[in-house]
Each structure stands twice: as C-alpha cells, then as structure tokens.
Symmetry: D2
Subunit: 345 residues, 4 copies
C-alpha cells in the first residue's frame, strides 16, 4: 500500500502543475496535496484565470495566468490535465513537447487523429503519458484483473461493465455523444483491460434519451447499451445511464471458461440496519466517495512513473483504444447497424 | 405459502397426467407427487412407452401406452407436458381439445403459427393453459415484480436477465437455435414480465460458439448477448452461456427512473467459510436445486387454476410473446442486423 | 434432496399420528401431509378433543378423543408429539412403550429424570426417538457441521448461537425459565452439535426482562446471554431475545484454530432494492418461513428412521444433553454464579 | 470527507511530534505524513534513540534523543504517543503538563489511578487529550452510532463486539492480561460508545489459553468471552482471540427494542470470484489494511481539536471508562465470579 510505504524516492516528491480548476480538478488537487506523498502540487492554471487564482489561493500554490504559462514553468516537472475535454489533446501535446510528464483526464482526445498526435508527442519527447482510467486502481478491479491474469476464470466469454451517474444536472449542458466519449469510455477501457491481449472488433448500440427525452432532438442520449465483440471471441456489454436514484454505480463482471469474477459495489460501507421495514444499508452517492483510494493510487503511480522515467500503468495508447470503441459507438448509434472498431496501427 | 395453507379445495386434488418421462419430466413428477397438495399424479405417458412404464412403476401410477391414451383417460383432469420440444404444440392442442387443463413446459411452440394454434385450442375449449416460466414463481423474482408494480423503481430504463447452465453435456445433441428457443426464452419472458405493459420492439444479437467451437459449423451457438428495445423506451440485455464452471446462474436486474431491483443468487445457502484462503461459500449447481420451490409453486398455481377454471398466472399468450423475441433473435443472428419482434394480434 | 428422490421405500409411507393441534402442531401436520413423501398423516389427537376434531376435519384424517386413543391405534406406526411442553415426557414414554416410533418437539422433558425416563422407554422398546432440533436440518447449518467434520476450521475455540423471536404476544402466558427451556435449548443443541465430541462443562447467565419489564417479578426473563465452557476448551455464547422488530433471527458462528464458519440469514430472499433511500431487502418474519425446508427434512429423516428401524439423526440423548445446559442456566440465573452442567451417565 | 475539503485552517497544519518508533508508531507516522493535511510531523522520539533516529531519517524529520526532549521542543505543538504501554500515562502527564495537545494510543493507562492522573493533567493544562480508539472513526462504526443516535434501533438490549487478530507471533512476549488491557479495551470502548449514556455495571469472564496452551501457566490468556451488564439493562458480549487463520476480524452488533445495526466486515473488497470450487473473496489481513481510513480520520480529528483548542471526539475519560471494564475483567478472570466495574467519579 503506497500510503504506508516510505521509500527514499518519496523524499523528493514530483512537482506537479494542475490545469483545470473545475469540480474534478479541485478534487484532484486536494487528493494530490493531501494524500499523494510522492507528488507535490506547485501550481494551478485554468482557461479562466480567475478560477485558477481562487483554487491556487486556497491551496497556497502558484496561480498561472494560462495553461501555457504553467507548462512553461521550469518548476513544474509534470502536468495533470483536468481541463475541458476539447482542450485535452492540445494540452497533452504542449506539455509533452515541453518535456513534462503528463497525466490527462479521460478522454484524452475526441478524434483518433488527436489521440495519435498526443501519443506521438509523448513518445517523441520520451515523457510518461498516463490517462485517467481510475477504475484500474480500485482494489476490487485490480484484484479482478489479477485473478484473470492468474487464469482463475479461464478465457473471457461474457463481460459486462456499467456506469450509472447519480443525476443529470443540466441536460442542456451535455454535448452530443457524451455518453460514449466521456462516460462509457471508462467501461470500454475496463473491458479491454479485463480481457488482456484481446482487441475490440465491432460494436452495436441501442441508446435513447429516457431521463431527459426533451433533449433527444438536441442529440442527447442518456441511456445506452453497447454490445462489443472481441477478437478472442468474448462478447461484452457496456451500459450507462445518467440518473441513478440511489447514487453512483460502477460494476464489472467477467465470465470465462473456468469461472466468473465481479467487481464493484453499491454500498457505502459494511453498515447494515435491520428494522421493522427489513434490512437496509447506505449507498454510494458520488465518484469521489467511491474512488478516492483509486484516485490516490493513480496519482501515486503517475508520480512514480515520472520519477522513474517509465511507462505508466495506463497509457495514451490505452486511451486511443478506448476512444476507438467510443467512436464506433457513435457510428453505430447513427446507422442503427454494427460498426467496426478502428484497429489502430 | 401454499404448503402450509389447508383450504377445503385441497381436499380434492386435481388429477394430473404427465407426458414426458425424461429428466425434467421425472423431476416434475416427483414434485407433483411429493410437494403439491392440490394435485395428484395419476398417470404417465411418453413417446417411448418403456420410459413411461419405468417411471410409472416407480411412482405407482398408471402407465399409458401413448400420450394420446393419457389425454383420452377420463380419470385425467389436467395434463402436464414435458415431452420433447417439437411435440409441445400438438400435445397442447390435443389436450386442450380433449377438455383437459394444460401445463406445457417452455417453449410451448417453435413457430408463431403453432403458438397461435395452441392458444386458440385452449381458448376454444375454455381450458386453462399454463406455460413453464418458473422464474416468475421464485420468491425473489416475484418480490421484484411486486416492487415494480408498487412503483418502487419507477419506469424501467435498463434491464438485464441472464442464464448460465452448468455444463454442455453433448454439443452434438443440441439443435440449432436452442440458445434462443429453449434457454433465453426464459429470459425473454422474465424481461417482459418485469416490464409490465410494455412490448418488445426490436432485437440485436451477438452470439458465438465459444464453449464448443467445433460445433459452430453445425449451427450451435453456446454464448449469446441479446439487446432488446421495448416500446416504453426500456433497453434490455439477455445473456446466456452453456457452460458455467461454478454451477447454475440465473439473475435479473431492473433499473428504473426511481431505483433498481435485483433478483437471483449464486450461493447454495447462507453458509460462509473463512479460512487461510479467504472467505468462501458453496454455489448452486442445478436448476432443480435453485428452483424447487418455484416449481412447487407453479404447479400449485396450475392446480388452483384448473380447479377454479380460471386463467393461470402464466399463459399461452405469454409464451407466444417470448417466442416472438426468440424468433427475432434467430433472424438477427442470421442477418447481423436488428430484427423486428412480431407484435402478435 | 429427499423431495426429488424416489426410492422404493417411499411407496409405503410411514403412518403417523399427531398429538397436538396448536400452532406448531398444525404447521407440522401440514408439512407432513403436503411435503413428506415418506410419511402419511393418519390421525390427530389433542388434550382438547375439539381442537383435534377441527384439525382432523380440515386434514380429512381420523380425530382421536385423546392422545392415549391415538397411541393405541394399531393403524398408527409412529407418533409426532407437539403437545404442551409439560406433557412431552409422559407422551414419549407412552408412545414408546406402545412400540411406536416417536418424534417429540423440543424440549423433550423439563427435568433430567423425565428425560432419562423418556430415553429409557424408547431404548427399552427398541423404537426410534427423534427430538425436534430442526436447525440441524437447515441447509446452511448442515453444511457448517460438514465443514467442521471435514476439519476446515480446526478445533472450535469460540462459538455463538442466537435466537431472536419476532414478538412476545402475551408475557403473562410465558412460564418462568421459558427462555432457557424452550428457546435457548435450540441454541444449546446447535452448539453441542457444532462442537462434535465435546461436552458442556459449566455455564454463566446474564439475563433480564427488557421487553416486558413488568413481568420480571413473575419470573419472566426475555433477554439472556449464556456463556458456556466445553471440555475441549471451546467457549461459547448463546443469546436470546423475545422481541426482534425485524423478524425471526437464528444464526450460528463457529471460530476454530484454522478458520470460521457461519450459518443463518435474516433476509427472506436474494431480492435487493436500491432507491433514493439506499439499499434494502426484506427480512424473514417467522420460524416456519425460515425453516420450512428444515422441518420437511427432519420429518423425512424421522420417517426413514422408523421405516429402517434405526437411530434417527437427533436422539433423546441429544435432548437430555441440551436440557442439562438449560437447567444449569436456571441455576446460574438464580445464583448469579457459574453452574456445572450435569454430565449424564 | 476531510481529505477533499480544503478549509483555510488546513493551511497551517498542527506541528506534531511522535513518541514511539515501533510498528504502530511507524504506521502512524506514515499516515500523519502522507494523509493528514491538517497535521505536519516534525519530530520522532523513542525510548531507544536509535529507533527514533532510523525512522526520523526515513521521514526527514528531527530525531530526538528522548521523549522528554521531544516534549520540550517548542516547535512541537502536539504529541502522538505510541510508546510501550507502561509508559503511556507518564508521557501523557508530561506532554500535557508541557502544554502540548496529546494523542495517546490505547490503553492510556494500566491503573485507574494512572488514568485519573493523566486526565487530571490534561484538564489542568487545558490541552486536548485524545485516545486511540480508532474504530469510532471507521465509516460503518460511525454510521452505526449515528443510527443509534437517530433512534433507529430503539434502546440497546443485546450487544456484541469482537476482535480477532491474525496471529500470535511470540506468546512469550505477551504480558499477562493483554487480552483485556490491550485488545478487548477496544471492544469495551466500542460497546460504551454504541450504548450512549449508559455505564457498565458488572462483568463476567470466561477465558483460556487455546492458541498457545503452554503459556497459560505464565498467565497468557488468548481466547476470552466477556459478558457485561449496563445500567440501562443492556447485556453485551466482548470476544477476542489472538490467532484468526483468515486474518483480522473486528465486528460489532447492537440489537435494540426497535431493530439491529451491524458494523465490520471480513472481506478486503467487493471482489468475488466464482469457480468450480464455489464463490470466494479475499479477507482482510491486518489492522492497518482494515483501518487506514479510520486512522486518517482520527488524526484529522486530533489536529482539528488541537487547532480549535477543544475536546476531541475520544477523551481520556473515555479511556478511563474502558480501562475500568478491563480491570474488572481481570478480577473476574481471577475469581471466576462476576466483578463490579468501577463507576469513576
């Protein structure tokens, strides 16, 4: 457990700059500051300088006037990108080109060309590029992968991954295809990662606007089932919905020739209450509550990778593969037919 | 609970004849004889008279030389059909035409025409016709439906039903499309039943022969994911596999606008063992082990329906609806595209 | 599973007479009639003949004017005693002396002298004598014992058994010491049975009237913790309360040198509901709901033992051992000190 | 959640010195350094200066030649005491007298006189004194208490708390009465805390040396059941064992007039594996693994209490109350009878 291990390397924490002072950026900043011994937050930038200034003030770190300024700061060894999605790829390229280690929230890019460009920039600069697929760092998901690697369930045949968000705050603010590009991209990565060595071949989408039907005409899909075929034969579903009444729900199930492994839970803790009404327990309400340890571990991994100048556990290539599935989903949703997944280079 | 309730009506159990002395017929016979107070098994028939004779001898009931003989026996008030699948529809017609109450194992028919014929025969004769969708009688599935009826989860948006059998004994003996017509038909009925008032509109199938790949050329599919769109917007998956290493696995999940309900378990009992290896528990290995109480309840319902001359809880019309989905799946599996579900009359 | 096994022996069910037409007698009658293939209920008696007549009428069996008349009936092969507790021992002696197989609800006796007398009568007559410790026949309890026999948890060191009843209907109707003699006697048997080969040595009781404090002066204890030391070193607690708001609760836990095994559950089924309020599930509300399969199995065992003229799985000697602990508890409750458990012959 | 909340107060972390560089001291140091934003570890001392030096070197903080030196350091605002048990009380007195906020690992003292002396010192100096009853900060235990405070289970009637350690490394190194003074003292605090407003009145102990019987003559007890009566009528058991094959096991159950609440789990995560052998999951192996979030929260609470100059959530008085139960247990273990719990002032 990183948090109880004191290696000499931790004595010189990696100096990290954060781009993006929104909800997730603030959460990342807090976790970096309070829980990641191997990293030290030294600066904050945002497309809106006043947001950066406010967060930097609270954190007592340097506020940058712009992302470029932060990237150019020689005091910054590594950059964590939690900016708005369309800016991701360019920021990755800029930070990598400046020789900084890069952590980018998912999705790293919205087109394969941008993804390839980002990966090429990091490869060219020889800097670590990690992408924010945090589920891989959750204890149960990591143990699921370990069980699969150990052959406990044989060859995957049927897989499932799902994401249900606790509420759709403002449908008007949700860009088209968000459900595939921002939400299910987590599930696509999880499915690829839990089916080691296999590639996604084709997808089929059934989706609808059931939470906010009035916004369907504006391109909003809030409920989707994706079926995926992998080149090792495994069949998978990825499922998402934007409004779970009981909270935040992320689970995975992999059934193979020798068994099944499941990860994910809906309960906040082991608390159970028994009353005249029956048995009950509290449910998880948000992503940070569910994944705070996973976020901690992914940033610890990032700091280690930067310090050790090595490839991190989640790469830009992984982001490219998950994106390719998301883009195929958009094609399938438009055509009503199956769509091929771009195989990459 | 039927088994602890002694109503006067139970004093005269319905006199039942069984057609089909195979594995499930024998199980049904035993349950009818030992656990269903409202029914009395009086005779057995089978396409192979020697099978009928052997079972009848063990049960000390009359052996019939043929299904027709059993149907014609005036001592038989009601007929339970557990014969080979292709014979189902004709036997339903024959029994109904003879004025007998009819219980038919799923699938009731393999074509819509046969299903319509069977339903028409029962309607014409005014006899109850029940089909063997036993999951509806399992305590947790019944409670799930009750919760949905009570509005606890709002309108269904995402549904899932799955069936995993513990082993594929002889792939050569499995007729083509079995996975849709015999296995997933249970899931199709469960999904229709857990989405009250809605109809299935279209399906899409991804399927393969992963358990016994050598038999794929002979038409065997042993692993399948079906995606279904309902006319109330709900999207569903139904999933099956013919070889679960850990046993028999049947589960359902319904996610709606106000919550989620789940049914099904993999554990045999509440036993939990903790050792140096961790925590463990035994898993269910077979359908009878999992569903013995459900089988008991479905036959109690059948006996009650016959005695009370009323429509049973699962009808021939329900069987027709589930069959229509299965047939659409075959079409989708062949075309690689979505297929429409026959809406019926 | 007895219910799906058709052995030739079942063709001639054991002819059983029931003494006791109260709540549990009626439940037993129904289970015997509807679910136990190896037994056939042929008569009912009760200290109040009108109760016997009413139940016999509903069941269409013979009503006896008295327990003696039923015992004397040559058509009765075996007797199930569910009469009032003080009558148990004499009825066991009478039935055994008449050469009938005997099943007696717990407690078989209220004094060691009576218990010895009952055992001696059955031994002298060479008839099977079974006592109603139904927990042994619950699937999870039976699996727990099997795990212990297999050495999975090593030597028991810490044990726990508990009983919580769903409600105390009428405190005025509860005889003194009921909590030990009628309720915890189940737990004492369970602990003895789950610690094979060991004997209870001493007990210590803390108890009170917390549910119905006004009745404490009349000798009612409704809440108790018993600590027991066994001669193999194992320490155990047995715990009871007469008014569980959430229903009926029976559980056991055995911790040993190599692991732990637990049995018992509070949930009705695998149903789980997730709503804005969190996760919930229904709880078991009564003994028959929890133990119907166990009751079925214990009567199947009784019928088999009578038919096979062998010692049943639960004996009069077992009842004597559990009673000895209950009597030591009364002594401890009175003295406030530990009390020795009578070791028997 | 403290870790994601950035209050201005956190900008000036409390400067903490640690006394005790053993296993738990090292764990506390790491957690303080890496996860507690409100605290800053500035120095380490130990009765063995070389241990302090080694840990201080790894942590890059100041090594003190002695606990006294650390306490005297004006740079140290607050002291965390994780020294050997017999030294606790004197160190509390010394640190409090020096005007430092004090956190002391349990047990704070081994005699009531020492406990009173420690409390008086902190009260006299007007400094916060917190004791390391970490369970109160575990999410499920905290939620259990909240449910009790909310009246969800009514008045407690039956309670249970247990501790099972994963292994007894060296029986020869375990001082007599450790099971009560160091292990079960956690359970005594938990039971007091989960029965708000009530006091323990009397205890009864059954205990033995079952893990390491050869050491019984030297006074080692490794297996114990304690029964406790509270002045509100509630009856409780506290149970401990020094060698659980499956790992670390801490659980609590409170049954009241209106329901039951349970806390504690044995599983590492939500991971579940299903194979031919059945269902399984990994178990927790150590206290830090189980309680890392609780340790983090208790130190966050301590830092807040020091900063805000207020009484912390767990006080020296609480430690005194739990100790009084432990001392009564020793008396009961020696006498074989019940023992009264010292009521305090």
């Amino acid at each position: 457990m990183t948090t109880t291990d004191l290696t000499p390397a931790e004595r010189e924490p990696v100096r990290v700059g954060l781009i993006g002072a929104g909800r997730i950026g603030t959460s990342h900043a807090t976790i970096l500051r309070n829980r990641v011994a191997g990293a030290s937050l030294v600066g904050v930038a945002d497309a809106r300088p006043e947001s950066a200034a406010a967060l930097a003030d609270r954190l007592e770190v340097r506020a940058h006037a712009s992302p470029d300024s932060l990237i150019a700061d020689p005091d910054v060894e590594a950059v964590v990108i939690a900016a708005s999605t369309p800016a991701h790829a360019d920021l990755v390229v800029a930070a990598a080109t400046a020789g900084k280690g890069v952590f980018c929230e998912k999705p790293m890019a919205l087109t394969l060309a941008d993804a390839d460009r980002a990966v090429a920039a990091a490869d060219g600069a020889g800097v670590p590029l990690q992408v924010g697929f945090n589920r891989r760092f959750a204890a149960d998901f990591a143990a699921a992968r370990a069980a699969i690697d150990a052959g406990e369930i044989g060859t995957p045949q049927l897989m499932r991954s799902l994401t249900r968000d606790p509420g759709l705050a403002d449908p008007a603010a949700v860009p088209p295809w968000t459900i595939f590009l921002l939400t299910l991209v987590h599930d696509f990565d999880a499915l690829l990662w839990l089916n080691p060595g296999a590639d996604a071949v084709e997808v089929f989408v059934m989706a609808d606007a059931l939470v906010a039907p009035d916004y369907k005409s504006a391109g909003l899909l809030d409920t989707a089932i994706v079926t995926i075929r992998f080149d090792n034969g495994a069949l998978a579903t990825a499922e998402a919905n934007f409004s779970a009444a009981y909270g935040y729900d992320v689970r995975a199930e992999v059934f193979g020739s020798r068994g099944m492994v499941t990860a994910g839970r809906t309960e906040t803790s082991a608390l159970r209450l028994h009353t005249e009404s029956g048995m009950s327990g509290p449910t998880l309400r948000g992503d940070v509550e569910m994944f705070i340890d996973a976020y901690t571990s992914e940033f610890a991994e990032f700091a280690d990778a930067v310090r050790e100048k090595r490839t991190p556990a989640v790469t830009g290539h992984d982001a490219r593969r998950a994106l390719a599935i998301a883009l195929a989903c958009i094609e399938s949703a438009q055509s009503g037919s199956t769509a091929r997944v771009d195989p990459g280079a």
